[in-house]
Symmetry: C2
Subunit: 464 residues, 2 copies
């Protein structure tokens, strides 16, 4: 038994695992990127154990990658070479729900859907709702500042994190933020940890802001020949202060995947489908839906359909949420995998960016499909490739780099909601170069040093 | 002419000032704290000039305090001993307003009200609205993560800053964030700069998110004998998802100041006044106000009054905004000044905290009045003292330290929206000690070093 094994066993007993078969699952995340075998996987049950493991790793220069639901699409939780994985799966407790003060305190591996199930019974919900919410953990979504399907109304995860308990590389426990609705208490360490992808500290608990559930929902599905009028429509909805909670777009190929499995009818000439979700009250739903329908019609879609049936609205929402999985399954049955690029541009540039992306894809020898959170100008490009063929993967990777350049050219960013991970390090450099702000990377590295001087926390992610 | 004088003159010509009479105004902020005479005041006209001045100061170890509207209540823009002041007053341009993408790009010294006047003509507004909005600058409100009267719906400044252009101590210009609605691009330097009180970099421009104006407003004023039912009422309004944009409370003494100048009638037994503002649409205003009125009545106030007259709503809002100035004037006429403490607690603890504060004030030999943003559990305690008598000032300071302790005891924070400045350094330490998280201060100092290794940017603020 080597020194690492004995050290970890001393702290965690048989919750430090070294068997090949058990480690398998922790070699990769949900991305296409090359897996890496960790030396060990550890399963702490408490903040104190997280602290002891970190102190041990820090003292012995062992790289440590923390892992939540493992749904990263950027390689953010692929372990470092010669490092270990800390799985948070034994830290799954909801510790406190306070509806009067509108917060919940949870351990970091609580799954988003589980939290929302509990909150739902009390008439509350946690707004950030990434597509992977049935698996994604609170800690993971904080680490990537996850967005999701309600972002157009509720923004990304950052807005909902009031504070965290986190363990630093040297084992020190910090408590950032507070249970209050506002705070101006020196540098905002909470916001710094949100989106830091496990490179600054290990988040063990979070204080999350929650909201009362809305009484009523409605939705509109509309088909368009081109993106311009769809964006105009969205602009007019926002301009009217309508309570739009979700605004998604799918290109024809994406709709094909949804339609196939869910029986949605598509007009022959339709190139894009837009899904609009409305959150309202009993007294306002009718007038909100009436106004929204008028504005949608004014944008001259090929066809549109509105509903206030809770089952239909929920069904449409869920089918959009499951789109990635449905697509992955169908593509998988043809022996292919999905390589996903996801960028963001200002809404006014979305139609142009989509046009440029389509031109690129038309020339590509790999198939693809596009969808995204149109309400925030967020585009997900799914490239279908044989992940076993390095030529295909390299080709797809070049497409994603070009995707990033398109976003930058239109005043956007290479990363809207999944973070940088391993995958986008070069794109991050490209973007900061385009902004003539390369110094930011230097600052990030200096901040990393302040938190983690030995560089043991998820090294090689965000930057080298 | 000494070296500093000649160096600054070389960069800025006669926009570097050294005359006693001109410097006077830049010795203090809006707080009661001891003024300090800077060596010079400089007025750069461009980011490039800001950069050159900073490079000069950095190379020569000259402390530099940046100054916006000068409305800090914590001493945040009182210059350091032997340092200079950089006034941003020549950087007042609104550079771009993009309603389609819902952002504005402004130079840092644009006054909040001026921005909102321009936006209002286009049917938009910038939500953060501190009481001092007629003087406070965008840069200053970013530096303190200012809150204000719309925080219950729109949160603090941080949520509205998409990115900034900032100049670092060594003169390097960085561009954080983007013009997009979401971003997950490594560590969030934008959020780190928001609330950093001029200690990390000088903000020269900001990309601010803006919102479409609402069609209709309504308000309810209610009087209560005690805070408990008022808090219950607010809880029920929030629980019902009513569009509450403002929720203020004033104790009887504060109402006296408002009533005196604005003719508001107060029931004899009323101890607290609550002001609720509603933002709504033409189609929903009636039902929103009906529901709000029912909920207010259910809380059994002594009396209440609702209005949807735009003039009346605006008048009430403005009179709350001007409360501090009215109070300062009245108190000033008696030869006294105001020493303000402002803390925050969870809403469920507000009534208890107010009770504790009132007990403290009842024993005090100094007069005081309380008001605050009840919607966020925010309490402003105004202590009236003869600022020329150090005994009075010391006494008031002890009261504010006790106020901080009351907030901490009730799970709150010593600083909700004005920052730490010079005034709250000890309270910040107290709070972090109570959280058993003193390490945060070490992290903040390390982050400061990464941005400003020579410590020239607003030294002595937030921490020593």
């Amino acid at each position: 038994m080597n020194r690492i094994e004995s050290g970890l066993r001393r702290i965690l007993g048989d919750r430090a695992r070294f068997d090949s078969s058990e480690i398998e699952k922790y070699m990769h995340d949900a991305s296409y990127l090359q897996p890496e075998r960790p030396l060990a996987v550890v399963f702490p049950k408490s903040t104190a154990e997280v602290s002891r493991v970190l102190r041990f790793c820090n003292g012995n220069g062992i790289a440590m990658t923390v892992r939540g639901g493992g749904t990263s699409l950027t390689g953010a939780c692929i372990p470092a070479k010669g490092g270990i994985v800390m799985s948070m799966e034994r830290l799954k407790r909801i510790l406190e729900i306070n509806t009067e003060d509108q917060y919940a305190v949870v351990q970091s591996d609580v799954v988003i859907n589980d939290l929302n199930k509990r909150l739902g019974r009390l008439g509350y919900f946690y707004p950030p709702d990434p597509g992977s919410s049935s698996v994604a953990s609170v800690g993971g979504t904080i680490a990537t500042n996850a967005g999701g399907l309600r972002g157009v109304m509720y923004g990304s995860t950052k807005r909902w994190v009031l504070g965290v308990e986190a363990v630093m590389a040297d084992g020190t426990v910090i408590e950032t933020g507070s249970r209050t609705m506002k705070l101006s208490r020196g540098y905002d360490l909470t916001s710094l940890l949100v989106g830091s992808e496990g490179t600054l500290a290990v988040i063990t608990k979070a204080i999350l802001r929650i909201e009362p559930s809305h009484e009523k929902t409605g939705s509109i599905v509309a088909y368009y020949r081109s993106m311009g009028p769809a964006c105009e429509m969205l602009y007019s909805l926002r301009r009217s202060n309508l309570p739009v909670v979700t605004a998604e777009f799918m290109d024809r190929k994406s709709v094909g995947y949804m339609g196939g499995s869910l029986g949605i009818d598509v007009a022959h000439s339709a190139k894009y489908m837009i899904f609009i979700g409305i959150l309202s009250s009993t007294s306002s739903l009718a007038s909100d839906m009436r106004l929204a329908s008028v504005l949608v019609k004014r944008s001259k879609p090929i066809s549109s359909r509105a509903t206030i049936s809770p089952e239909e609205v929920a069904g449409e929402y869920l089918s959009r949420k499951e789109l990635h999985d449905i697509m992955a399954e169908e593509v998988g049955s043809r022996g292919l995998g999905i390589i996903i690029g996801y960028v963001v541009v200002p809404l006014s540039k979305l139609a142009l960016a989509v046009r440029d992306i389509e031109r690129m894809c038309a020339l590509s020898r790999l198939g693809s499909a596009m969808f995204g959170h149109i309400g925030e100008g967020n585009i997900h490009l799914n490239v279908f490739a044989d992940l076993g063929r390095s030529r295909d993967v390299a080709y797809a990777t070049r497409m994603l780099r070009e995707l990033g350049r398109i976003a930058i050219r239109h005043g956007g960013s290479v990363s809207a909601e999944h973070g940088i991970g391993l995958e986008k390090k070069q794109l991050l450099k490209d973007e900061l170069a385009a902004l003539r702000s390369p110094k930011e990377l230097v600052l990030m590295k200096d901040i990393k040093k302040a938190f983690d001087p030995n560089g043991i926390l998820n090294p090689g992610k965000i930057f080298d």
